[in-house]
Each structure stands twice: as structure tokens, then as C-alpha cells.
Amino acid sequence: MLDVLHQLGVGFLHVLAPVNFAALVVGLVVGMLVAVLPGLTLVMGVVLALPFTYGMSITPSIILLTAMYISGTYGGAITSILFRIPGEPMDVPLLWDGYAMAHAGQPAQALGWTLFAALTGGLITALVMVTLAVPFAQVALSFDSPEYFAIVLFGFTSVVALGGGSLANALISLFFGMLISTVGVDEIYGVDRFTFGTDILRDGIGYLPVMVGAYGLGEVLIRLEQGFVSPPLSGDGRIATRIPRLAEAWKLRGTFGRSSIVGVLCGVVPGAGATIASFIAYSVEAQYGKSRNLGSGIPEGIVAPQVASTASVGGHMVPLLTLGIPGSGATAVILGAFLLHGVQPGPQIFQTQALLVYAIFASVFLGVIGMGLIGYFAIRPLVKVLYLPEAIVSAFVVLFCLIGAYSEHNNITDLWMIVVFGIVGYLFERWRFPIAPMVLGCILGPIAESSYMTTMISYRNDWTVFFTRPVSATVMALSAAALLYPAYRGFRRRRAAALSASSIAP
């Protein structure tokens, strides 16, 4: 433990170096702006920032993207509370109590509770991340290919099961992403797969063009089809934040505790992101909280989703750093930044890149505090960006997407990938196929395939090995439960509906 604290101290000093500190501040401000701006999402923002990191060294790059990720979980709350415009899907639960409190004449209190919740959730997640990561990495060192396959499979099933919407659509989206990852020359046999004789496809399709296209261009196309119509802003211009007193906050300790646990757990599970954390925390609060007036503008309804969504960030960083498995869109981009700088996250990173890892940990602590300060003092200029015309913002978003794709290989053909996946992203949205499973399938597909093939080769095609090794068997069971529970729930719901219909019928 002392060693961890010592390393963390060194990490703090490293973050305070001018370049790293500048990256932290810029990341916090841009992350908050991205979450506030209409038509831009947090993942989109992190994706768009990636090309700017090509020229940086790895530490400021990761600090910049992580800071954006942290502050992005708070920025969208401001517009939810003040204008009833959720900046991100994770901010939807804030409409129920946050907007209600603001509408009842207490916007400063609502903003204060949100900021305090984000700060608390962030600091708790940073502590948990530092505490969990090292033991997690030590356990992960003993993992073999069956365990990796089981964990990736669990990531797939959780993103499908927790993603909302149709199970079949989520699965099709996931399989589509996994299939994209098989395009190109096979690593073991050196055989062309789905290249159709074209050189462009022989190199494979990277997940960054898929992400940038689907999340960036796809989202702009959807908004363009709707004519960039934003809801009218209805704030009264007197924007301020009133932080709750400690005594007031202490009364809600149960809510803080429950929501932090939900947030961190949702973060650690690959595929369950801040949105899931936010909704589940609200739901848990509704079920187990003391207050029965959730939805009427009470602090519990603001604190629960906000603590959980910010707490999920640190949780996500644990599997990313210790296993090299990103659990969300934003951490997938951060993984991309690691790989672009030639660093492969995994259990060994604590030995090979200890300074970098602890600088990231320290940047999360400082980032959370910085987010609180910026959120408190810069709220008025932040809200001003809402008045930027969406047509202008969106045109620049597309341009960022295209330059981002171009700058990876200095190749115009990469731009065509963006266009193709932009249209795919649009069609997915129109046909109600969720995009997240496709992206996760594309990212984790190669890891799943290589760990499956390695297992088959190492264990002589004995597929039972996935169920006989304790860790992989447990994770496989969790995957099965993640898939079967929604089916069971759907069956029960249909049966209940059928029973009530038969009891109503004469």
C-alpha cells in the first residue's frame, strides 16, 4: 500500500508538469463544452480529440482524453437541469428531479447538488480505481486465453443485455461489428477474408473509422435529417451554483453510498456504461431510498444518477488498464490512443509503464477537482455555447471526423471508410439497431477471436476448457445469466400480460 501511495505521489508530480497540466485543463474544458454543445456527444468529443494527440507524447494524450471523459459526465447535467435538454443519454434521469427542482425556483440548488454529486462520485471512483487496479492486475497476470475469451464474451453479453431496445437487434449489431473485425488478412493463416480482391480491405478495417463514422458523421446525418431543430431555451439567465452544506449532504449518505457502488460496478463490467449506471442508480434509489417522492424535484433524484455516472469512469479505467479491455466507447478511444503510441495496456503495464499509470490515476483525482472548479466558476460561459448555431457546429464536427481519419495514415481512402460507416450509423439509428454493440464487437472481436483460436490450439480443440477452469467457468455463467435473464423477464412479462388479458375477457 505504501508503495502505491509513493507511486501515486510521483504521479501527482508528473501531472503537475506544465505540458501534462495543460492537457488536463484543456481536456476538462473541452469535455464540458462537448457535453453542453447541441448535437455533440461525449464519445464523439473524445473521438474528435484523438487526432490532436498524434503529435503529443503518451502521458498528456491519455490525460487529455481521460479529463474529457470525466468532465463530460458532468457537463450535460447543466443543460438537463436548466433547459430540459439532456446533453447525453446518461443525463435523462436528471430531467425528472433536477429540472423539477430548477423549475420550482431552485436552479442554483439543483446545480449545486449535481456538482457535489459529480465531485463525490469522481473522488470515490478515483479511490476505488487506485485500490482495485493493482490487485486486479496481479490476478490478471494468471489469466490464460480461456479467461480472456470468457471476459470478452461477458463484455459482449452485457452490452447486448444492458443496452436497452431489442435483444435481436443488439445481437445483430454486435455480430456486424465482430464481422468487420475479421476483414483483412488472417493473422494465423495469412489468408484474405472478405477483402473482395481490394487492397484497401487487405489491411482490415480499424475500429477508429467505424467509431468516428458511426458516432460522428452518423449522428450529424440524423440531426441534419431533422433540420437541426433544437428545443427552445427557456432559462432566465440568472445562473449560479449553490453547493449544499455538509450537514445536508450527510443526510443523503445512503444515496451517495448506493449510487457509488452501482457506478463503480457498472464501470467495471465491460459494456455497461455511464448511461446504464445512471438509470440503474435512479432505479435503485426509487426502490431502496428513504424518500418516496422521487421525480418531484428532490436531491436524492439528482444525486443518485450523477454520482453513478461519474463513478463509472474510474470503474471503466480498471479493465482498460489491467486487461486492455475497454468497456465503453470513450475508453475504446483511450485504448486507441495507447496503441497509437505503442503501449499495450494489460497486467504488465504496472511494471513496464508504472509512471504513466500512476500519472493517469493522479490525473483522475486532479481532474475531478478541476471539474468541480470549472463547473462552479465557468457555468455562465459554458451555457453561452448552447446558443451556437447547430449547423455551424455540425459542419465542423464532420470536418474533424474526416481530418481525424485522414491523419492516422495520411490516406484519402480512410475518408471513404468514414463516409461508409457514417451512412451505416445513420441506417442503424433509423432501423433501431444500437451502435454501441457494433463498436464494441469491432474493438473486442479480434481479442475474442485470437483468444478463442489460441485456446483451441493450446487445448487441442477441447472447448470444455472454458467451463472447467474456475475463473472462465464463473465468467461464462455470468454471461449466460446476462443473456438469459432478459429472455426470462420477457417471458414472464408476456405471461402476465396474457393472464391479465384472459381475466379481463368475459
Binding site: 443496452g163 436497452g164 435483444l167 456486424f176 438509470f279 449547423a391 455540425s394 481530418i403 484519402i412
Partner: protein, 184 residues
């Protein structure tokens, strides 16, 4: 197109595409190595599972055409997201704007090598902002030109990215701007 066919169309499309790709997996040219799984095993498994998911949805749509998609997550999230989806569905749509947006983006990529980054980007930004129904031409022109120049400066001078300069006569514009900005 009737409602049922419209609901089935995406699944039939995916099914057909998956069937073609499945056929392709039987034609990967490789030499098997003992009892090791070949490079066709993994994609074939994915395609078969995707086809199975499509068949499940097709059967569900045919059996219960009025039933919405099975919904999975907790009710509170379902309702909130469904509300948002309904609002998005109810929003007025402008397919022609979408068509123009896609066409402009394709044209931008296609012309990048010919017009060069500066000219192509300024034109694209202006056209895209106008397509987004923003009508103040002086602002559009200023934003398009300034945006293009700022991007050029940042990416070529600071990030050291080699952006396309275009072919004659457009390369002259790019070269003049580069000289002006001190980009070598």
C-alpha cells in the same frame, strides 16, 4: 411498402448479406493444419449467429406484427428512452437535407485530391452550413474561410500533418497560403 414489409426489410437485407458472406467463407483459400480450426471458423460462427438472430426477428414480426420489439432493461429506462424515441419519431424529417448532406460529404472526399484541402474545405463548410438551414451568408462565408485556414494552420503547422494541396491550378492557392503561413 406496407408496414410489415418495412419492419422486415432490414432483417431480410442483413440475412441476404450474411448468406453471401457465409458462402464466401467456404472459398477462403487455405491449407488446413492438422485439426486446428481454420480462418473460416470464426467468421462462419458469427454469420450463422447473425442469421439466427435475423430469423428470430423475422418470425417475431410475422407472428406478432403489432408487438413492439422486446425490451430488456429496467422499466424506468425503457420508458424514458421510449419517450425520447417517440419524440424523435414525431419530429419532422427532411430527407432531401440528408441526401444533400451525404452527397456533399462524398463530393468533399472525392474532390480533396483535386481542389486541395484549403479550397475544398472552405467550399464544403459553406455548403454544409447552408444545408443545415443557416441563412446568414456573410457569417457562412467568414466561418467557412476562417475555419478552413485555421484547420490548415493547426494541422499543417502545429500537428505536422501533410494535407492534400491539390492539382493545378488549385495547388497554387494551397502553396500561396502555405507560404503566407510559413508552412514548408
Amino acid at each position: 411498402m406496407n408496414a410489415r414489409l418495412r419492419a422486415l426489410a432490414p432483417y431480410l437485407l442483413v440475412l441476404a448479406g450474411a448468406a453471401v458472406l457465409l458462402w464466401k467463407t467456404y472459398h477462403f483459400g487455405f491449407t488446413p493444419r492438422g485439426d486446428r480450426p481454420g480462418p473460416d471458423v470464426w467468421p462462419r460462427a458469427i454469420l450463422l449467429l447473425a442469421m439466427l438472430a435475423c430469423v428470430v426477428r423475422v418470425v417475431a414480426v410475422l407472428r406478432h406484427p403489432r408487438n413492439p420489439d422486446p425490451v430488456l432493461i429496467r422499466d424506468v429506462m425503457d420508458n424514458a428512452l421510449a419517450e425520447q424515441e417517440r419524440a424523435a419519431e414525431a419530429a419532422q424529417r427532411y430527407p432531401w437535407l440528408l441526401g444533400i448532406g451525404i452527397a456533399l460529404t462524398i463530393a468533399y472526399v472525392a474532390l480533396l485530391g483535386t481542389l486541395g484541402f484549403a479550397v475544398d474545405t472552405a467550399l464544403y463548410l459553406a455548403a454544409m452550413i447552408r444545408t443545415g438551414r443557416y441563412r446568414r451568408w456573410p457569417v457562412i462565408a467568414a466561418v467557412a474561410v476562417a475555419g478552413s485556414l485555421v484547420f490548415m494552420f493547426v494541422f499543417m503547422k502545429i500537428v505536422y500533418l501533410s494535407l492534400p494541396i491539390g492539382r493545378p491550378p488549385f495547388d497554387a492557392v494551397s502553396l500561396a497560403l502555405m507560404q503566407l503561413m510559413g508552412i514548408r
